[in-house]
Subunit: 123 residues, 2 copies
């Protein structure tokens, strides 16, 4: 899969999974994976999914505005940079966010999320 | 230098150089470096500095809101994720932006910018 198709497929998969059942995101992370969520640092797939599922809202919808991607270096990784809006159930206003992922290849030919940094962009 | 000090020193150096004489940013990039600027892809330090110096404003001021950082993997790289506001000379309103850098170590013990992705966050 070419880098653009890979990045867009990942973004589609990640946010559609987040918005339907974010407990299912665990398969995208490994124990070395790192998440920075609004400045809070969490390491390891289990802890990351625990954090995501404990966020204080039941339903949400991510609307993606931009997706940028670049290869991260000779190890075959891919950097994916996303901006968009987040709509929480019951809230009228959307929240703007930016998020970056560092995808690394697995020996099986797939990718996992090594790095994940999320920030809301407050007005 | 520990990762937090490195990241903060880089952010301070990058934006203060950008805001005083962005033509001097060339030393931070190498010929393999990549910039995505509002979706436009530019490769190589010379082309990147040419892009930055040709932006249609003379003076600007970056005000940094958040800095997140994570090691990018065994090659010793560092991911730095920045959000903030950009004030252009003569403009009343500020522009919100997000930017990520992938810093890679040089054999001399310094770091260069391998990846740079910049996006304005429009309201």
């Amino acid at each position: 899969m070419d880098p653009e198709s890979l990045s867009k497929a990942f973004v589609e998969h990640y946010y559609s999974t987040f918005d339907t059942n974010r407990g299912n995101l665990g398969g995208l992370y490994q124990e070395t994976s790192m998440l920075s969520f609004e400045g809070e640092k969490i390491q390891g797939g289990t802890a990351i999914v625990s954090k995501l599922t404990s966020l204080p809202f039941q339903q949400c919808k991510h609307n993606i505005t931009t997706v940028d991607f670049q290869p991260s270096g000779p190890a075959g990784g891919m950097l994916v940079f996303v901006s968009g809006n987040l709509q929480l159930a019951g809230e009228q206003h959307t929240l703007k966010f930016s998020q970056m992922f560092h995808l690394m290849p697995t020996p099986q030919g797939s990718f996992y999320v090594q790095n994940d940094i999320f920030r809301l962009n407050y007005a």
